[in-house]
């Protein structure tokens, strides 16, 4: 007997394609913290991405106006907590420049070594989470395994693993631990042997490449126009490494190549960060045997008063250009402090590069922009 196939009662034209809103976050794992994205989508095609910020806004800039210059340092590692050492360094450099205080060579070298270790720690965490965002869980464990070694080095010398608070205006809180040089020198060859593993697991993986190549393309002009910095901008061929253009601490005496790519897609951003890890190892290697002897700080007044004026200091964190802008009226508290966070500018281009793509591509693009929400919210 012939089975009667029933005609669908509704013809195709009855299904209207409609745009609708969907909330991504604030608790979505791919938004890496409390970031809410209001997506306007048509099917799975993104029409608009509107970030809703402020879920962990703590008003750190206002708090700075009530605190002394030594206390401000401790607030900055709550911004981009993965670059906490570099953030601390930025405030200290800004205060030292304003006071025209020359810190000992030993301090400069130690700051740079720790800064580059911070960058590697941040990039290993990013690499692990990046893999997880596109569905490869193993990378998460690899990344955290290697980051653990850096955290142990930090713990021994700074007493903390994440929010170091090791820099103070005038130098360092205390001298490095006697094991520091030995452990860093153990870490360099260890990590050099592990980085090719990263490539084997993720970089050459065909699924990973399909997820990231040609996704979220950012041109050089747009990168500059949106104020992008860090690996996001460098993957579009825009040379913006603060370490090269405005070297600070001991970065003027090391040789390294600025990682650049011209493709501007998610895969390029991924490769720039991998290349940066290799370069950071090179920088540390050049400095670790030549830490000058001397004091680890110069004495400052217990109450630091900055001269009247405006002071700006930019540094390169793992996410890009971080700036500290202090307006001083000559008192012991700053009149106004502004933190130029790399995350806010990098996030502002998200809508521009994801519109027209799919939601899955948005996740891959966000992973390579590498946002840290406390850095955006401040």
């Amino acid at each position: 007997m012939e089975t009667a196939i029933k005609e669908p009662t509704t013809s195709k034209s009855n299904f209207k394609s409609e745009e609708y809103f969907i909330n991504m976050g604030p608790q979505h794992p791919a938004t890496h913290g409390v970031l809410r994205l209001l997506l306007t989508i048509d099917g799975e095609i993104i029409k608009k991405v509107d970030p809703d910020l402020g879920y962990i806004h703590r008003s750190i800039e206002k708090m700075c106006e009530k605190n002394s210059y030594q206390q401000i340092v401790h607030l900055t590692d709550r911004l981009d907590y993965l670059s906490s050492h570099i953030n601390n360094e930025a405030v200290c450099l800004c205060v030292e420049n304003a006071l025209e205080l020359e810190v000992p060579e030993r301090v400069k070298v130690i700051r740079t070594i720790l800064g580059e270790l911070t960058r590697i720690a941040s990039h290993t965490l990013w690499w692990g989470v990046m893999g997880m965002d596109v569905g490869a869980l193993t990378s998460y464990f690899y990344g955290f395994r290697d980051r653990e070694m850096i955290n142990d080095i930090f713990e021994e010398t700074c007493g903390a693993r994440l929010t170091m608070n090791y820099n103070i205006p005038g130098g360092l809180m205390q001298d490095i631990h006697p094991n520091f040089v030995k452990r860093v020198k153990e870490f360099i060859p260890h990590f050099r042997s592990k980085l090719p593993e990263y490539d084997r697991l993720l970089t050459g993986n065909i699924i990973f490449q399909k997820r990231t190549k040609g996704v979220g393309i950012l041109t050089k002009e747009d990168a500059i126009n949106f104020g992008a910095s860090g690996p996001v901008a460098r993957a579009s061929g825009y040379s913006c490494d603060v370490r090269k253009h405005h070297p600070y601490s001991a970065l003027d005496r090391v040789n390294f190549t600025e990682a650049l790519d011209t493709t501007g897609d998610s895969f390029a951003r991924y490769q720039v960060r991998i290349a940066e890890m290799w370069e950071s190892l090179n920088i540390i290697e050049q400095l670790i045997d030549n830490i000058p002897e001397g004091d680890f700080k110069v004495a400052t007044n217990a109450v630091i008063k900055l001269p009247k004026g405006d002071f700006y200091q930019k540094v390169e964190t793992a996410r890009g250009e971080f700036g500290v802008y202090i307006i001083s009226t000559g008192t012991k508290n700053p009149y106004r402090v502004k933190f130029r966070s790399p995350g806010l500018s990098n996030l502002s281009l998200l809508n521009h590069i994801t519109v027209g793509g799919k939601i899955g591509d948005l996740v891959a693009t966000m992973a390579t922009i590498d946002i840290v929400v406390p850095d955006i919210d401040r």
Partner: protein
Amino acid sequence: MTNEALQQTILSWFPDPEFTQPQFSEEGSQYLTVNTEPEQLHELMQLLKNNPETHFDYLFCLTGVDYGKELGVVYHLESTVHRHMLVVKVQTEERENPVLESVQDLWATANYHEREVYDFFGIIFRNHPNLKRLFLTEDWEGYPLRKDYVDEMNMVVK
């Protein structure tokens, strides 16, 4: 371009002595600073960005400041071609109804940063396409980073 050459170039754009000329200062800042008037702001910014000699294509910091009597905005500019830097300062005419011209048509990054300044200082940026609070909720009363902000619940600073 050196600071002197930069200063000469900018002054040559405003030759009319009756028109307010931008004021320069290098005191108390490591960058050359231009003080301009609100009505001149957009014209100056446009020239700074589009003139090939200055070519300030990278706005890396936009800061709102409460100066007491007036509110102000500080723009930090850098040229990715010439690698020189400049600071532009502008002050609003009053506190009650502070209005400035938006520069987000010149630098896309200004979009979010101007929203942040509006959020915390209440400066209204004319011609901004989406001027609403960036971090705080829409029903938040007052502008917390102003110096005269009354914070009865001690929510902002403890």
